[in-house]
């Protein structure tokens, strides 16, 4: 970043190649909408370019770029909140075969397979994405930053602008909410235990 700040455009290309995909995934899972995520990704990097003169070496670039991305996501979420959108938990209506099922279930059932009927790997991904999308934004961002971006709690506190204990609290609530959500959808018990055993070795 110092090189780019001093006018080296190739340094910026290196930064983009290194951080663009993780940032995109963070944005995508934060907003839950690919097109919006792409727009926010572009906007994030443009802001990185424009704000390069404000960057100081005392802060990690990762922390800085995720701060930018997170703020853009927050702004985007606020804008979306003003739109007349139905909640994912609102009951679906009008569509054939959708009676009695929530929109979230329909989103997760895009492949035409219900979690119960699809294979485990095939079923698990949409459920996980649904579970993440169902988290409150403050818990979701902490979970995403810590779980997928590998950012420590201290840096997440810097990104989100809260103290570290708050971050850890949000993280615990996020983990608990995900576990309950998956359990609610029937993905609990044996699957998690099996997965846990796999993780623990």
């Amino acid at each position: 970043m110092l090189a780019f700040k001093s006018g080296d455009a190739r340094a910026f290309a290196t930064l983009v190649a290194r951080h663009r995909q993780p940032v995109f995934n963070f944005i995508l899972r934060y907003v839950g909408h690919r097109q919006r995520a792409e727009d926010l990704l572009q906007e994030t990097w443009l802001k990185v370019v424009r704000s390069s003169s404000e960057w100081e070496p005392k802060a990690r670039f990762t922390t800085w770029v995720y701060t930018i991305a997170r703020n853009l996501c927050v702004d985007s979420a606020r804008k979306e909140a003003f739109r007349a959108t139905d909640s994912l938990d609102a009951p679906a209506s009008g569509d054939e075969g959708a009676e009695g099922r929530s929109k979230g279930e329909l989103v997760a059932d895009e492949s035409g397979q219900t979690p119960d009927r699809a294979a485990h790997n095939v079923r698990l991904r949409p459920l996980l994405e649904r579970a993440i999308a169902s988290l409150p934004p403050e818990q979701r961002e902490v979970f995403l930053l810590r779980e997928y971006q590998g950012i420590g709690f201290k840096e997440i506190a810097e990104v989100t602008g809260v103290n570290e204990n708050t971050v850890k609290s949000r993280m615990r609530y996020a983990l608990e909410g995900l576990r309950k959500k998956l359990a609610e959808w029937g993905v609990d018990g044996e699957a998690m235990a099996e997965a846990s055993r796999t993780v623990m070795g």
Binding site: V16, F24, S52, E147, F153, L178, V199
Partner: protein, 512 residues
């Protein structure tokens, strides 16, 4: 919520994500192994993590990447630009300052070396007049200076000014052994110059610009003898320095005024000049005579033995090396003035015979005695009054009038006069005279020659033409103006002579 449990949960969270230090991690691990509750909590955390870990990473879109990089590159260039702009700005500032410095130095040197502006000439004349000359020369000089100052293109005049006095003025830094030839004439010619140029003695070493095209053969005249001098710094001298040098040369030459060896050298030099003049082609001498015309007054005066006119011989006169006595106040006005029609007074010959009439007219101005003359004896015998009467006396030998040449010469004189080129104006006027100008053309030529020489401070030369103008055209405005001017100068000189009888001879002989 129990703080201890809460703290334990945070610790378990750190332990699950590997953020605890090694020793703390070991302690927590040991505790978890013994605590079922903590072990269950840790299992839940790890179970959720294990469930979400295989969630694949989405590929970032390529759309917009190129534009993003292009934007970044452009931004990087803009980031570099300020630094470069700063460097260039300083470079521009320094280069501008250096350029201004060079221009300033050049301008300063040019100002030092450049000739005086007409205003400077006027101021200088006034200053000099106040110092030594008193008010004797002031009217004429002031008038000329004012004319120069009123020139339409003073810049052009200043630019051309250095060339003007070159052929007329003489080099100042001349060895005494050579300079003594002219000292008599200078003494008599300059008159008040001794007092006038005291302050300029320090500039004696500066040589005036050379005049190669107008250089005339070495001879005993002032111009010739002084032109032989080395001219190491002549190109740097302007009109002002030339004038000063000319004046200073007068002062320096005065010291050898009574040198007898100088007289002998002058005699031999006179012979050389005559012989050389006889050998030279007529055409070339014609040009040289124009130059001689500028210097010739002193020679003419030397021929008179320095009895009547302030200027004394330093050229052709025999035995003229002897210092002439203090000049009289009225050398010309006392001369009998023949009255003749202007046409008959024209002394100029036809162009083919240009040297002859010019010699006739200027034979008393220092021309070689061997030059063809119609009445050499009478010219050499007399001084200014001879000059005044010669044209009329030799009307039968008047050259054929070349109307076109006269007109062209007068036109040229007007043009040069309008731009302040006094020397060129005088030369053109002389050409008009030599081409046989008559009537008002002759009057104008005489007036321009008179005024031009006065502007060049060659008063002895100016006197000849002024005298001719007054004598031949007394009823014209130009003649009356010159007459009034001369009368004023004479009156001032007489008053000054009365006030200081002892110094009268030196100070009473200014221009006229």
């Amino acid at each position: 919520m129990n703080p201890g449990v809460h703290q334990n949960e945070d610790t378990l969270l750190d332990f699950a994500y590997g953020e605890l230090p090694a020793h703390e991690a070991a302690a927590v691990d040991a505790h978890v192994r013994t605590c079922a509750k903590c072990s269950q909590a840790l299992a839940q955390i790890r179970g959720v993590r294990s469930m979400f870990a295989p969630l694949p990473m989405e590929a970032a879109p390529e759309a917009g990447l190129e534009s993003l990089l292009a934007y970044a590159e452009q931004h990087a260039r803009r980031t570099k630009a300020p630094a470069q702009a700063g460097w260039r700005r300083w470079l521009f500032v320094f280069s501008s300052a250096a350029a201004l410095l060079v221009v300033g130095v050049v301008a300063t040197r040019a100002m030092e070396e450049a000739p005086q502006t007409p205003a400077d000439v006027f101021a200088r004349n006034q200053k000099e007049a106040e110092r030594g000359l008193g008010s004797a020369q002031l009217p004429g000089l002031a008038q000329d200076a004012e004319k120069a100052a009123n020139a339409p293109t003073p810049v052009a005049a200043a630019a051309e000014a250095p060339q003007a006095p070159a052929p007329v003025m003489a080099a100042p830094s001349r060895p005494a052994a050579t300079a003594d030839v002219d000292e008599g004439g200078l003494e008599g010619k300059r008159g008040g110059g001794e007092t006038r140029n005291k302050d300029t003695g320090s500039q004696n070493q500066k040589a005036p610009p050379p005049a190669p095209k107008l250089a005339k053969p070495s001879g005993p005249s002032l111009g010739d003898s002084l032109r032989d001098e080395p001219r190491q710094s002549e190109s740097k001298r302007g009109l002002n320095s030339t004038w000063n040098e000319d004046s200073n040369s007068v002062g320096g030459l005065k010291q050898d005024f009574s040198n007898a060896a100088g007289a002998r050298r002058q005699e031999s030099a006179d012979k050389k000049v005559e012989a050389q003049a006889a050998r030279e082609p007529t055409k070339e001498r014609s040009r040289e005579r124009l130059d001689d015309l500028s210097d010739g007054t002193s020679a003419r005066q030397s021929a008179t033995g320095g009895t009547a006119t302030p200027p004394s011989s330093f050229g052709l006169g025999t035995g003229s090396s002897a210092p002439s006595p203090p000049p009289q106040v009225e050398p010309v006005a006392a001369a009998p003035r023949p009255v003749s029609p202007p046409v008959q007074q024209a002394p100029a010959p036809p162009p083919a015979d240009a040297p002859a009439p010019l010699k006739k007219m200027t034979s008393g101005y220092g021309l070689p005695s061997s030059a063809p003359r119609s009445a050499p004896s009478s010219v050499e015998a007399d001084d200014a009054e001879t000059v005044a009467s010669a044209p009329a006396g030799r009307a039968e030998q008047r050259p054929v009038r070349d109307v076109e040449s006269v007109k062209q010469a007068l036109t040229k004189a007007r043009e040069l006069g309008s731009v302040g080129d006094r020397k060129g104006e005088v030369e053109a006027a002389l050409l008009a005279l030599s081409a046989g100008a008559t009537g008002y053309e002759r009057a104008e030529a005489l007036k321009r020659a008179c005024d031009g020489y006065e502007a060049l401070r060659l008063f002895d030369r100016a006197e000849s033409f002024c005298g001719l103008l007054v004598s031949e055209f007394p009823a014209t405005a130009a003649g009356q103006e010159v007459a009034r001017r001369r009368a004023a100068v004479r009156k001032a000189a007489e008053e000054k002579a009365k006030a200081r009888p002892a110094e009268a001879p030196a100070s009473v002989s200014p221009a006229y």
